[in-house]
Symmetry: C2
Subunit: 327 residues, 2 copies
């Protein structure tokens, strides 16, 4: 195997010079740099990456912390992070936190010892000391903001305005809003968007809080629709909640979209598989993951980042749970 000594000999410089150059840890003349580069090429010298991480305290590993990869929102995010990371020579460690601060802290500690280069985090714990005091680069995805941590999220508020208006333009006169968990920033932004649009319209509405969970949503909506037969539109803060609402309507024999129109929020693949297909406010999840990874790598490599808050536009995707716009 080729060693650093072979490289030094070939390049006609000292081992210390080769080391300084390869680790970027001190001054090397332009001539020496050229000679070392040529020698590395010619001898096909491979840096030992573990030895390098000892020297540079850097491993080219990125930690991706998500609440639960089995939640259909996160696989596409993970996919984007890995695709972009690979392009820049980084690999991704997957961490499921279950929103448990203890588990998050353990991951941070374990991975810091492996000289992890940085973290992309989807968490409600961003204000917790284990994130706030972290020296490593970190980017927040989807949820929550701390002034020092760059954040990438969807335009949730505007999306909710769009979703509400989609129901209003299609003649809904009594709308049920399925509000997401109150501790989640994106859910609260969607709630505010709904309130803005519905208040302006003067149309009748109801609000029910509902977890981002199919079976729970189905049960809650079934109970509510039994008591409120006047409801002709449902705007759900997530696609799985919307799927639960649709199933409840089918069970109660309510025709969708003739008697009841439904709009979801997320744009996950499952939406098109439902009958009728789910109209939804689609997030560009892949783009969110890609931007977050690019921002993180820039921070790791000490490059300037243009902004601290990235808002990715959402899009109304019309399918079968809504009718045509009324003239």
């Amino acid at each position: 195997m080729t060693t650093i000594r072979d490289v030094a000999k070939k390049a006609g410089v000292s081992v210390a010079t080769v080391s300084r150059f390869l680790n970027g840890s001190g001054y090397v003349s332009a001539d020496a740099a050229k000679a070392v580069t040529d020698a590395v090429d010619e001898l096909k010298y491979e840096l030992n990456p573990v030895a390098r991480s000892l020297n540079t305290k850097q491993s080219h590993l990125i930690g991706l912390i998500v609440p639960d990869i089995t939640n259909p929102f996160f696989p596409e995010l993970a996919r984007a992070v890995e695709d972009v990371a690979l392009t820049y020579g980084y690999t991704v460690i997957l961490c499921n936190s279950d929103e448990n601060p203890e588990k998050e802290r353990n991951y941070l500690e374990t991975l810091k010892k492996k000289y992890i280069a940085g973290f992309i985090v989807t968490s409600n714990q961003l204000d917790a000391p284990h994130y706030a005091n972290m020296a490593l680069p970190i980017v927040a995805l989807d949820r929550a903001i701390n002034d020092r941590i760059p954040t990438v999220s969807s335009n949730n508020r505007e999306g909710a305005v769009m979703g509400t208006q989609a129901l209003l333009q299609r003649g809904c006169k009594d709308i049920l809003f399925l509000r997401g968990p109150e501790k989640l920033n994106p859910a609260n932004d969607r709630f505010e968007g709904f309130m803005e649009a519905i208040t302006e319209s003067g149309v009748n509405y109801h609000i029910v809080t509902c977890p981002f969970h199919f079976a729970d949503s189905e049960k809650i909506v079934e109970g509510f629709l039994k008591e409120h037969k006047e409801i002709d539109g449902i705007f759900a803060s997530s696609d799985v909640s919307a799927a639960g609402a649709l199933k409840a309507a089918v069970t109660l024999g309510i025709q969708v979209p003739a008697e009841l129109q439904i709009v979801g929020f997320d744009g996950i693949a499952m939406g098109e598989m439902l009958s009728p297909g789910l109209t939804t406010i689609a997030q560009d999840v892949y783009k969110m993951g890609a931007i977050a990874t690019r921002v993180l790598i820039k921070r790791i490599e000490n490059q300037e980042i243009e902004q601290h808050f990235y808002e990715v536009p959402v899009q109304l995707k019309l399918r079968g749970t809504t009718r045509s716009v009324e003239k």
Copy 2:
């Protein structure tokens, strides 16, 4: 910071002894082992894991290679792998291969340089030289077998027999089987199970090859049902294909399950969200991932493994796309 010298001093042994003990690289007397353990505890000496991986050529990193994490089968697998790995002090690197041998090879090379401890692989490339000649421990998941590589998969053949019999017992007289991609072992095992059960029954059947993809399956089934109005049962080799078949039936105004019964294969979460809910042969994906991880860690740690082939039982999950059994 506490060094190995401090530990040696406290324990009253040489630095070499401490090193031998901590790296498990040679004989240490029971008394010395006890003294070192106590000293490590007392001084809260933390091994530097990157330095350790240089010595032991081991990083406690596991590579998980899947075709595409956004395919709904894999997130639950990834979740199981990570849960079990964490229990044993390992972390998981996520790799999407897109079934591309070049990408797989690149990942193997890159991660070997990081002294990855082993791989869990879902691939159709297991016979390819980059896997066959690998010195590192490896476990195959879901697909394909090579005699030297331990494999964990579902009992696909038996599951297909169960699914076919479920349709037969419910009165189906003309069954369409949606066969999966012919290069996939699990798909072929399901095909064989279907053939076994249908041949024995003497009932009329058709076979159409169909990718594990929703929109493609929808289109293929819609075309087929238009030409074959006699079909009263569909057994799909995957849940996404079954979802496509259900959507096609709804589009054509065919009543499910009154006129047409449908059974899928997989047991992914989406199945319950459909209307009617999808009857399916459910794989225990979490269990498969957990067993594979346990087997891999045993191999990494040079422990005996009991067997080379693990077959995890599947289960018939009855929902709304099938009727009650006919008396």
